[in-house]
């Protein structure tokens, strides 16, 4: 399957460890940029940048509460990861790994016997 551009690819988004840490923090509940930046020991612009990537791939959503913006987990965005880690897709990717090896063996044998 053609993967989307990196900015909209959930796999790319969670490849970055600080973004994964943000997701783990948000499991406990919503948080503001200031809170998240503080928890993770990063600058506010840094945290904002990560949150923007996470929001773009649908892993995080935000809402306004008074003057502040709160970020929360939108785990539906993890569905592609969930499917990749064990679903139908992985079953077939692993079968195709074996097919790949098997047909290469067949080809070797064919060359040897002809």
């Amino acid at each position: 399957m053609a993967r989307a551009a990196t900015t909209s690819d959930v796999f790319n988004a969670i490849a970055e460890h600080q973004r994964r840490e943000i997701l783990v923090l948000l499991r406990a509940g919503e948080g503001s940029v200031t809170e998240l930046a503080q928890e993770l020991g990063m600058t506010q612009p840094g945290a904002s940048k990560h949150l923007r990537v996470l929001r773009e791939v649908g892993l995080v959503r935000d809402r306004k509460l008074g003057k502040q913006r709160l970020y929360g987990l939108d785990a539906c965005g993890l569905r592609p990861v969930h499917e990749w880690t064990g679903g139908f897709e992985r079953f077939w990717n692993e079968s195709f790994d074996r097919l790949d090896e098997y047909v290469q063996d067949l080809e070797q044998q064919g060359r040897r016997s002809s």
Binding site: C76, G86, R90, F96, R98, D100, Y102, V103
Partner: protein
Amino acid sequence: MSATGRGAPAQSPAADREIVISRVISAPRELVFEAFTEVRHLSQWWGPEGFTTTTRAFEFQVGGTWDFVMHGPDGTDYQEWISWTEIAPPERIALVHGESCGDPNAFESVLTFAPDGAKTRIEMRTVFPTKELRDEAVEKYHAIEGGQQTLSNLDAYVTEIDRNGGED
């Protein structure tokens, strides 16, 4: 993805109930195709590492079936039933895949084999009758691979937050 031509659908209408898997195999197309046509080949590679199959019946032709049991590495058996709906060597195979003949949850897969230099690109497009059945199949295959511990922590983690996040 770019437009494939005038008159082609802009987006597959089945997008939310299909799964497309694409893969390059390092062998010529005829050989890769052949690996799908006989039990002695299929039994060598069907399923992830550690899976084996026992075939009850196999007839590779349109309308013919492959009736078999798939054995998981943890000892669990899965009834499988496949019927071919189109065979066009060496480029295309369409089949219906279910647990038994007449399975209402059976789904259709179309495999296409395209040359990619000396290699072969396989595309497997599977369309489920409904989005719910697609999701169910994903879960079922999760269960099938339950015996495999690779990435299981991440898996449990995403399953949990997927469930929590999916309720609202």
